[in-house]
């Protein structure tokens, strides 16, 4: 990140920046308690100049929004209107209470599944089952049946759309947890309780295509300036633990010390 470079924290939508909580950057595998605002402030201080540079030097100055053909806006409005109409078209009071297609019921199952499989302790077989459940839930969420035809204050339409987004995020999370066969930061695998820098000192990058399909890749981390060491948070007895370590055989392992992530 170079100071003032227009692309600092710019998303893949040009001109759309992700500052603050939404990027969860800078903290690596674990955000220490009470450090979130630090990164929010950093984004404002450091990357604010990037927005300024972008506005002055790039598209906004050379091709302002007013010069974009109206048809381009209309196309997006049409696309979103069609999504809305599809949801409103699904309204069927007779079937609305069927948990198979009710978004609130689907979201509740999603919450229960993610709580069980993807929170504090994670394990290969459970994560695989979770991904199978998510596929089933996504299938159901793709053909929802709503109970509210109203064009005003219709919360189920918003909720149905949010549920679909939650499912994409849930899948990204579960896939990442499955593929990262080690324990690091707040990610604890009972079948791989040790940190494995040889394989996994990498950033997980999840991409979501236009159809909501997620794919996973690992990107190496540049550690030229600061050599990685064991994170012991000042604890003396475990400070001697060498890093990197080979993965330990699967089996029960002690709970890791966990830092709050607020």
């Amino acid at each position: 990140m170079l100071p003032g470079a227009p692309n600092n924290m710019m998303t893949n939508v040009r001109g759309l920046y992700a500052f603050g909580e939404v990027n969860f950057a800078y903290h690596g595998a674990n955000r220490l308690g009470a450090n979130a605002l630090l990164s929010c402030l950093f984004d404002g201080l450091f990357c604010g100049a990037s927005v300024d540079a972008y506005v002055r030097q790039e598209e906004p100055s050379t091709a302002p929004a007013a010069s974009i053909p109206q048809a381009q806006y209309d196309r997006v409005v049409d696309q979103e209107t069609r999504k809305l109409e599809a949801l409103l078209g699904s309204v069927d009071p007779a079937r609305a209470a069927d948990p198979a297609t009710n978004p609130y019921a689907i979201a509740r199952e999603l919450g229960a599944e993610m709580t069980e499989a993807c929170t504090v302790v994670r394990r290969e077989d459970r994560l695989r089952r979770c991904l199978a459940t998510l596929a089933e839930l996504r299938d159901r969420a793709a053909r929802p049946c709503l109970a509210d035809p109203a064009g005003w204050g219709n919360q189920s339409v918003v909720f149905a759309r949010a549920t679909a987004d939650m499912l994409v995020l849930a899948e990204a999370l579960a896939k990442g947890a499955l593929e990262r066969r080690e324990s690091r930061g707040a990610h604890y695998r009972s079948d791989y309780p040790s940190r494995d820098d040889t394989q996994f000192m990498k950033t997980t990058v999840t991409r979501c295509d236009a159809h909501g399909q997620t794919s996973l890749a690992f990107e190496p981390i540049d550690a030229d300036l600061i050599a990685p060491t064991a994170r012991t948070y000042g604890k003396k007895d475990s400070a001697a633990a060498p890093t990197p370590q080979p993965p330990a055989p699967p089996g029960p392992a002690p709970q890791p010390a966990m830092a709050a992530t607020h």
């Binding site: 007779a94 609130y104 509740r108 919450g111 229960a112 599944e113 459940t133 109970a147 005003w152 919360q155």
Partner: protein
Amino acid sequence: MTAHSPLGNGTHARPAPPPQGRRVVLRIKRCDGPVKPSYWQDFSVPVGPNANVISCLQTICASPVTADGRATTPVAWDAGCLEEVCGSCTMVINGKARQSCSCLIDEHAPRDGDVITLEPMSKFPVVRDLVVNRDRAFHALRRVRAWVPIDGTYALGAGPRETPQTQETRYALSQCMSCGCCLEACPQFNLQPDPAAWETSFIGAHAISQARLFNLHQTGSRMAAERLEALMGPGGVSDCGNAQNCVKVCPKKIPLTESIAAMGRAVTVHSVKKFFSLA
């Protein structure tokens, strides 16, 4: 997502049947949109341990059927934090304004078949069902400039020192979440859908108390006179009839009548000074 016992059982089977146990009746005052007529509907909701009003409303959305078995629309409600700090879920429960997220079913309807009534607050325009528009409560905060004037464009130097005594007073006041309970309970604060009238209608206990909070802040006190001016005019602190309902319903136990008295005195001093052109 919710404190309610989840329906999912962690396998990819269909959801488990609702938890065995008791049901309560949610009697809800509904409304399809602004100025549309209100109507009541009963819902029989299965409740597990730790259920609260919001989790019951979610259960209704997952199965929008009335107690007499008729299909209906899901009930609309508002919520944010789910931990009684944002105020957005405020509604009238069994006749009293409070937050629905912290309203536990076991406390308010402990037996099988008990009834809980839910109504939107009556002092704000209804958006839909239990959702109201609290814009006027926030407008009142703008009237008294309930903020500290720093915009980050210049260095202010070291932060002001604060005594433990002021800190203690201010901490209590700072817990206000603009929920509107005090306004719902106040006989002087009445429904006013027309924003043009907000500038001169009663400002409400919460805003008076926030004016005190920011006048007690060393940097905030730079705008003390402006806040007192706002409280001097029509709809200001003298419109309070001292009914003391507000302080009884405030979920954060904010000493509202103390604030009203303090600001009443400050306004008097300010107007005397102004009369002699000292302020």
